[in-house]
């Protein structure tokens, strides 16, 4: 069995299983901690607040955006780029069709892929650079932040370096980082991708019950 076959075969399935089970375990674990019942008579709907909170926090507020526009642009640019690459890159769709789902969907054209990659890289580098050049970020960042950023960066980088799609070694390196990333995910702050809707939603629900404006 070649190295590539291992990293995109058994190791990938193991990593994907750890990723899925770990992430779901953790999200359910959080939900299961539960809350006490709120006895105060509500002024509005908590459920509506949950959804509203989730939506509202996608949009930055003007007064803060003036101060933090660089982070907002970097953050959005990274996340949009990443999801475009993850979901619409032709090799990813092929991989999903052949190994997981059995069906495919339209892929980004090559130029679309590259533009998405530009945004993703620009955003991620900016966010990471800020992590060590801003005293606030230096104080609050820990190893988890840096490992998470670097692993994601390496997954993206190795993926793009393998863009010629002609060397198995490059693809294998990419897949290896993907596997590591998947295994690392449920134990790390990367989990925010699976818990952000809870934290936004819970705050939103509290606000909603109290009839607070978001």
């Amino acid at each position: 069995m070649s190295f590539l076959q291992i990293v995109e075969g058994p190791l990938f399935y193991i990593a994907a299983a750890i990723f899925l089970i770990g992430a779901i375990w953790r999200v359910i674990g959080i939900i299961k901690i539960g809350h006490k019942r709120d006895l105060a008579p509500p002024k509005g709907s908590g459920k509506v607040g949950f959804v509203a909170g989730n939506l509202r926090h996608f949009l930055p507020r003007k007064i803060f955006a003036k101060r933090t526009w660089v982070h907002i642009i970097a953050g959005y640019s990274f996340h949009f780029g990443l999801f475009a690459l993850l979901l619409f890159a032709a090799p990813h769709i092929d991989f999903a069709r052949d190994r997981i789902l059995g069906f495919d969907w339209p892929a980004l054209p090559r130029w679309g892929f590259i533009i998405a990659a530009q945004f993703a890289f620009a955003g991620l580098i900016m966010l990471w650079v800020r992590r060590f050049s801003d005293p606030v970020m230096r104080l609050i960042s820990d190893w988890d932040d840096h490992i998470g950023s670097w692993l994601t960066f390496l997954v993206m980088l190795t993926g793009c370096l393998a863009l010629q799609e002609s060397h198995n070694a490059l693809k294998a390196i990419h897949m290896l980082f993907v596997d590591v990333w998947l295994i690392y995910f449920p134990f790390s702050r990367l989990m925010h991708a699976g818990t952000f809707f809870l934290s936004r939603g819970y705050t939103g629900a509290t606000y909603g019950r109290k009839g607070m404006t978001l």
Partner: protein, 198 residues
């Protein structure tokens, strides 16, 4: 060992483009790639000439010199071949080649060139002779079958000559003598310096 050469007799080429078509068919090259092309000079004017041109398999091949990954090699027959497994599609061989031989699939897609493709003198590539990979990457290996390039083989006017350089130049010399005037064969001065025959 014989030194393989191409020669196009401009006095005979009738711009039928059959060499181009035969080459495409023989090697099943993808859309958009023509390993050979026919250039017409003074089109529609007195003295019109046509020349079929592809990789000339130069002795001191510029492509070989500039390739950053050193993917070219020359066979003992003087045929310049390249290894597509090494090629990164940078396009430098195209910058250097005097004859515009290197071709790239999906050129123009955000600057990405696929792996370079060019005339192999129907001699395949570094993969095992007659293997499926060799055919897929480089086309048919006629040389290994003891045959000469298809373009010259099927040229109806025998304008395009391919094969051992000495034999090719002898044929040409006879023609020139027969025609009663002399000049250098097209491209030979550049491709095979020091061996121009008259």
């Amino acid at each position: 060992m014989a030194r393989m050469k191409f020669l196009c007799d401009a006095e005979r080429c009738i711009e039928c483009n059959a060499c181009v078509t035969a080459c495409k068919n023989e090697h099943e090259v993808p859309w958009g790639i023509n390993r050979r092309r026919v250039v017409t000079l003074s089109d529609g004017k007195p003295g019109e000439r046509s020349i079929s041109v592809a990789c000339m398999h130069c002795s001191d091949a510029p492509c070989m010199a500039v390739c950053p990954v050193d993917c070219f090699y020359q066979t003992p027959d003087g045929v310049v071949l390249h290894n597509k497994d090494l090629c990164i599609g940078c396009g430098y061989c195209f910058f250097a080649c005097p004859f515009g031989a290197p071709q790239y699939p999906q050129a123009g897609n955000f600057g990405s060139r696929g792996k370079m493709d060019k005339c192999t003198f129907c001699a395949g590539g570094p993969d095992a002779d007659h293997s499926a990979e060799e055919f897929k990457k480089y086309g048919r290996n006629r040389m290994a079958e003891g045959k000469l390039p298809i373009c010259a083989e099927m040229c109806s006017t025998k304008a395009l000559l391919a094969g051992d350089g000495n034999i090719v130049s002898n044929i040409y010399r006879e023609r020139v003598v027969g025609r009663g005037f002399g000049s250098g064969a097209w491209g030979w001065g550049r491709a095979y310096p020091g061996s121009v025959s008259n």
